[in-house]
């Protein structure tokens, strides 16, 4: 199984964890990681479908999560094209910032410690991927 399929599988598993066990936008964060690694059509379609399911489960208007995610991806992509951004630190910081904002607006837990833990995990993942030249 390749890395992209593995992350998609983890994304599917996140449906059961998010909102039942932990109040953290895991799906949102994993979608950003998936985009950072594989910015292709398969990723876009997967994220679109997964966002629709997430919206349904949380009784949000269908399409709101995917709209936000694709707007963020567009921001990342434009920023990367203009500034040739490949800094994993910047990616980790901005991902954490967007995740926190998403958590705030969609009533997830905004516990700083929880977000800090996920930031450290994200930072480690982005650092490893950056070293392996897998990030974008």
């Amino acid at each position: 199984m390749n890395l992209q399929n593995l992350i998609i599988l983890v994304l599917l598993a996140a449906f059961f964890i998010e909102g039942s066990i932990i109040s953290f936008p895991i799906i949102f964060l994993l979608s950003i990681i998936l985009f950072m690694l594989f910015p292709n059509n398969k990723t876009f379609i997967t994220i679109f479908l997964i966002s629709i399911i997430a919206d349904s489960l949380y009784l949000r208007p269908l399409g709101i999560s995917s709209l936000i995610l694709f707007a963020i991806f567009l921001f990342f992509n434009l920023y990367k094209n203009i500034f040739e951004m490949k800094n994993y630190l910047l990616i980790a910081f901005s991902s954490t910032f967007f995740t926190f904002m998403y958590a705030y607006f969609f009533s997830y837990s905004t516990n700083i410690i929880l977000h800090l833990i996920f930031f450290i995990i994200g930072l480690t993942i982005f650092y490893i991927l950056s070293n392996k030249k897998l990030l974008w």
């Binding site: 109040s23 709209l67 837990s109």
Partner: protein, 257 residues
């Protein structure tokens, strides 16, 4: 390549926006219903496990870990039924509302911190006769108000949410006020300084039923006063309220028709 990615991203944004617009005018309830039905069982099971409601069955599972999966499943089903039964029993013994007008619902998810959630997702929707603004209770205590309704699931906004407000009355002194959610606590405001509030007083809902018969029912316990903020220079006094319920331990709630 770069511009192709940008074009695709814009395309997906437009598709999402279209879906949002369609959903605004013609709510796609059938999609929600199908997805909710698929995810209902695992989410409900995981929530109960997290809430510690099935702690009895968990310890038995530990003892019986060498037993086969079918036996474990039967045990879990039995525990779930037992909890439902005791919840129903206690509800019908305590509630002042007519038992026939109560719809039991299981909690399948939550929003906000687990110890003090802002909202619950419950397994009842329009198919079960649930409507917006219905009161959700547990043992005559206010759990919240239905704020979003899907085909099979609904969202209940809890008193701690900053989207929550209700007209209330002090049961002991009859002082009127409005409660708001402040995320960490429930805030009682707009109580005239001439009215009396005491620490420990029980605050109940005053009732806000609209012409359609929906809204917050009267005489439902919101909580008790834990501290009071009163100043003679101000025309209103306020107080902090603590719910008598431990929201993190709830797994079944009741909707008042």
């Amino acid at each position: 390549m770069k511009s192709k990615t940008n074009k695709n991203l814009i395309l997906f944004m437009l598709v999402s926006l279209s879906l949002l617009a369609i959903n605004y005018f013609f709510p796609l309830k059938f999609i929600q219903k199908t997805i909710n039905n698929v995810f209902y069982f695992p989410k409900s099971f995981l929530y109960e496990a997290k809430a510690g409601i099935s702690s009895g069955s968990e310890s038995e599972i530990a003892k019986l870990k060498n037993e086969n999966k079918i036996l474990l499943q039967k045990l879990n089903d039995y525990e779930t039924l037992k909890q439902d039964n005791s919840a129903l029993k206690s509800q019908f013994q305590v509630s002042s509302l007519d038992s026939q007008n109560l719809i039991p619902a299981k909690i399948v998810g939550f929003e906000g911190p687990f110890s003090k959630p802002y909202a619950f997702i419950i397994d009842k929707g329009t198919n079960d006769g649930i409507g917006k603004q219905m009161t959700v209770i547990f043992e005559n205590n206010l759990v919240g108000v239905v704020s979003e309704v899907g085909g099979s699931f609904s969202k209940v906004t809890l008193p701690a949410s900053n989207k929550f407000s209700a007209v209330v009355i002090d049961r002991e002194t009859s002082a009127n006020g409005i409660v708001y959610g402040k995320e960490d606590f429930i805030f009682l405001d707009n109580v005239a300084v001439t009215d009396t509030l005491k620490v420990g007083d029980i605050i109940v809902t005053k009732g806000e039923i609209n012409s359609a018969g929906l809204g917050v029912k009267n005489d439902i316990v919101v909580g008790k006063i834990t501290s009071i903020n009163k100043s003679d220079s101000e025309s209103f006094q306020s107080a902090k309220i603590e719910s008598l319920l431990d929201f993190s331990k709830l797994s079944t709630v009741f909707l008042a028709k």
